[in-house]
């Protein structure tokens, strides 16, 4: 992302090289993962790929490590009272502004004298909520429209491809800033909407390339000869064989969305004061970093650890799903 931005066109390690922008049926970019995937399912039942993947994942510490961190952050988001007795922006004492970490305040206090630890705990909810919600919506859009575009081709495909190009061409930070300044609300709902609007393009391209790679496979032809309807072919035959790389990118995308959301908060156009989020904490602290590094350190560490966990989880899942890399 902008960083983040720039929500990236390929997964970090690029199991699926991006389909050539605007080129025909993915001529130069027919994805490696697509090929691998098709190859992986020829021999056995569809379930075996997932079964193999699970067996592979079970033995990897990266997978378990990321899961543990994410479970911790999710627990903070769902039950903040388990971690801190203070509510959002509660018990602040301006006389105790910008204190360093101590026994009373594990992470010190912020500019307004609020306990930084409870801030960090409460910041998990909007951050995680937006990251997951945006990815879920973008995933659904990609699934439905990527499937339709890839399966039917022709004018529908061309139309969807051009619309994707239009949104893909918008610079992320600039586009989001323009929309958010015009937007009447700056709550998590508005942030989700804006981030979905600017972030659905990557997954739809990968989904489309996947569908094109499997739509002419023998088992699809066989299903068609047996009289299966388009809908049944799409949902029962193509979807299970095309979805794996999209799931990988979606996992990685959660991390990117969280980083992007934090960037917008940081620029001051995202969530606003009574809200609490890690990006907002960093925004409020930006003038005091030099003398009070703890204001930078704690939210940044939690933010980075969360993004990192999603990225490593995505990487682990991709390695497990892509037999070519073994």
């Amino acid at each position: 992302m902008t960083k983040h931005k720039e929500v990236d066109p390929t997964g970090p390690a690029g199991a699926a090289p991006a389909p050539a922008p605007g080129a025909g049926a993915g001529a130069p970019g027919t994805s490696a993962a697509a090929v691998a995937e098709a190859g992986g399912t020829v021999g056995g039942q569809a379930a075996s790929l997932w079964h193999d993947a699970w067996r592979e994942l079970r033995g990897r510490w990266v997978f378990w490590g990321s899961l543990v961190i994410l479970a911790l952050v999710a627990a903070m988001a769902l039950f903040p009272s388990l971690f801190t007795g203070r509510g959002v922006n509660q018990g602040c004492d301006p006389n105790l502004s910008k204190l360093g970490p101590s026994g009373d305040h594990w992470f010190g206090t912020d500019l307004a004298g609020c306990d930084y630890f409870s801030h960090v705990v409460h910041g998990a909810r909007p951050t995680l909520l937006i990251g997951v919600a945006v990815t879920l919506f973008a995933f659904l859009i990609a699934l439905v429209f990527g499937m339709l575009a890839g399966y039917y081709g022709g004018p529908l495909d061309a139309l969807i491809a051009r619309i994707t190009d239009v949104f893909f061409g918008l610079p992320f930070v600039l586009g989001a800033t323009v929309i958010l300044v015009a937007f009447p609300s700056h709550g998590p709902g508005a942030m989700t909407l804006v981030l979905v609007l600017l972030g659905w393009t990557t997954m739809i391209r990968i989904m489309r390339a996947q569908v094109i790679a499997v739509r002419d496979a023998d088992y699809v032809q066989a299903a068609r000869l047996l009289g299966a309807s388009d809908r049944r072919i799409m949902t029962r035959h193509i979807l299970p064989n095309a979805i794996a790389p999209v799931i990988v990118v979606a996992t990685l995308n959660v991390g990117n969305v969280i980083a992007g959301e934090a960037t917008l908060d940081f620029l001051g156009v995202g969530l606003q004061y009574p809200q609490v989020s890690w990006g907002l904490q960093l925004n409020l602290a930006q003038s005091y970093f030099v003398d009070h590094p703890h204001l930078l350190l704690f939210p940044a560490v939690f933010l980075s650890a969360t993004v990192l966990s999603f990225l490593m989880l995505g990487d682990a899942v991709r390695d497990a799903l892509d037999p070519k890399l073994r």
């Binding site: 902008t2 983040h4 720039e6 050539a20 918008l170 600039l174 590094p293 070519k324």
Partner: protein, 308 residues
């Protein structure tokens, strides 16, 4: 080949119109009357308002405004701000700053990214590989503004290796640290793409053939494997050049570089629509152009790819 270029150019037209129209609609949907905003809360005579609105085409329906704007754009006229300043003049000095920053970052990505990726790809599964993978994952995970401030404090203020902010020392000295911060994300993707792609290609039949012919390792890797591995990397580098120019907002803010990003960010807050639209339109043009060049590079990198 030329038919392909022509087709791509034709395809780029609706995308260009769509993207710019989208930006145009978004910017001019910003609430508030920009002309009234010039005077603040003071009352303005109706005929003055109307004259000014006419001058900026604000009385036309928005699509007509857009058409007039585009017409001006193709004559090299980016329009003027509501205070009468020419947008092209406001942006001209700033493009240089942003372009220098983006190029520095891009060069950094290209050179260091490919080198690291090749290093890791050639030593897959060994220490170098683990180091590169771990390091790049970390770089991707740390938000660019955290990285920027940390780098500024550590390298700029404490160790004084680089200037901490501003453009006093000109290119390249003042742009090195911001460029590395801006390029860090792209660097990670480039390194990882190169690594994966190279590791895959090293197992390909044509590499075995090249080796069997008795070619030296340098030639096999450099001429055969690496060149073919660069296709996804080139795609990424092309797409990324656009996002570097657009994503420079954050870096320019941290290091106080007077570039386009800062100007646009201010203009968005001040609701100076013409400046925002002008800058973003140019960004989109650059983005489309670079993507076209990238697609044409495929044929040179991989002779198997033919343009119809």
């Amino acid at each position: 080949m030329w038919r392909y270029v022509l087709r791509r150019l034709l395809q780029a037209i609706p995308v260009f119109i769509g993207t710019t129209l989208l930006i145009y609609l978004l910017v001019f949907a910003l609430p508030g009357d920009p002309i009234q905003a010039l005077a603040g809360d003071k009352p303005v005579p109706e005929n003055v308002l109307n004259t000014l609105r006419d001058r900026y085409n604000l009385n036309d329906p928005v699509l007509v405004q857009y058409a007039k704007y585009m017409f001006g754009l193709f004559q090299g006229d980016l329009g003027e701000n509501y205070t009468g300043q020419k947008v092209s003049e406001m942006l001209s000095g700033r493009w240089v700053v942003t372009a220098q920053l983006a190029l520095t970052a891009w060069t950094f990505e290209l050179v260091v990214g490919i080198a690291l990726g090749a290093w890791a790809g050639l030593r897959r599964g060994r220490l170098a590989d683990t180091l590169v993978l771990g390091g790049t994952t970390l770089l991707i995970a740390v938000p660019v503004f955290v990285l920027g401030y940390t780098a500024q404090i550590v390298f700029g203020l404490n160790w004084k290796i680089f200037p901490s902010a501003g453009t006093d020392q000109g290119w390249p000295v003042s742009y090195l640290l911001p460029g590395m911060v801006l390029g860090s994300l792209g660097l990670s993707y480039v390194a990882r793409l190169t690594r994966t792609s190279l590791a895959e290609n090293l197992r390909a039949d044509y590499v075995r053939t090249a080796r069997a012919k008795g070619l030296g390792r340098t030639r096999v890797v450099g001429r055969h494997a690496l060149r073919n591995s660069l296709i996804p990397v080139v795609t990424y580098l092309g797409v990324d050049f656009g996002s570097l120019m657009g994503g420079a907002i954050v870096t320019e803010g941290i290091f106080n570089l007077p570039g386009v990003g800062q100007q646009v960010f201010q203009s968005i807050q001040l609701k100076e629509g013409p400046v925002v639209v002008g800058a973003v339109t140019l960004l989109v043009l650059i983005f489309l152009l670079v993507n076209l060049i990238v697609d044409l590079l495929y044929g040179w990198l991989d002779p198997r790819i033919r343009y119809e």
